[in-house]
């Protein structure tokens, strides 16, 4: 059933959120450090482990997960719609330059670092 797929993802999000907060306490910054990344990591490990054991989700359960993935871009659009874009523009030259130069610079580091993996 679709809800089982949604519950499956929910479980890993909550697991990651808890572990991320443990990590936040451990390194002293508090808050959730990398909770989403940990959730994804554990989900990938679990799904791959289950697949190696020949266990596959029923289509309807998988549809629950696919439904969430399909909602992803619309939610990013909604997220964009609530950003303080006026604040960004009003931040003036230093904000636009600091944010802009960093972004463009980092983009051109992508091919550089990706090559590290070629050897």
């Amino acid at each position: 059933m679709e809800i089982l797929g949604m519950g499956f993802v929910a479980f890993f999000m909550l697991l990651g959120s808890f572990l991320g907060r443990l990590l936040g306490q451990f390194i002293g910054t508090g808050g959730d450090v990398g909770g989403v990344g940990l959730a994804m990591l554990f989900m990938v490990l679990t799904v791959n482990y289950l697949e190696n054991r020949g266990f596959n989700f029923k289509t309807r359960t998988e549809n629950g997960i696919r439904f969430l993935s399909a909602l992803y871009i619309p939610i990013i659009v909604a997220m964009a719609a609530r950003l303080n874009v006026v604040g960004a523009v009003r931040g003036g030259a230093v904000a636009i330059l600091a944010g802009g130069v960093t972004t463009i610079g980092a983009m051109f580091l992508v091919p550089l670092l990706s090559k590290l993996n070629k050897n």
Binding site: V33, G35, S69, I76, V77, R82, V94, A95, M107, L113
Partner: protein
Amino acid sequence: MFANAVNSFAGADHLIISIALVALIMFVTKKISIMMGEERIASALAIITGLVLAYIGGRVTGGSSGLADVSIFGGAGIGLLGGSMLRDYTIISTAYGVKLKNLKKAGPVGVISLLVGVTFSFVVGSIIAVILGYTDPAVVTTIGAGAVTFIVGPVTGTALGVSSEIIAISVAAGLVKSILTMIITPFIAGLVGLDNPTSAMVYGGLIGTTSGVAGGLAATDPELVPYGAMTATFYTGLGTLVAPSIGFIIVRALLT
């Protein structure tokens, strides 16, 4: 009578109204991109539309949450739909398609890109702050932290006790980075070889702002989203750890 009906209508179901709005945006931008013969940019167009609406919402209401300050979208409306809870929930679901071997191959270089990404952003942001005349170490550190992400900035600024105006600038710098990333990634992806799990993880580690990386990859190739998101989600944590501590110590040493 009609007015009362409209008022009570506008006061209810803000989440559903927001869903309807986003559906409309997705529909219109899909049609426009097909007409332009470049269907691939539909998501980028939709995200840009979201940003434009946020700007309009901000100007009309003077608030700091874009469209979420407009009453009909307020409360549990666009704020909930676009909030980090649902954003994280759906990002995590995209990990369902990730292959373990891609992770193992890209893991180490992903970690390196995280360290390089946070350092690079902080250094460039701080240098620009100094060039534009800021000399107080706490202020320069906060602006440098803003160039890391729009979360690391205010966390650092609060920790160092700078004025709220500087914190606003650091948030603005992070927002510029996030917005710019969302807009230019689809167009620059080919140029920087952003077309495989490894480069997506490196991109996530270098750019790091979860919303920017998520939006940029979603508009470029949804398959790459989980790889980029995986490194990006550690970026803010690393930034909040490094910027107010090591970052500040180094900036203070250099500036005094």
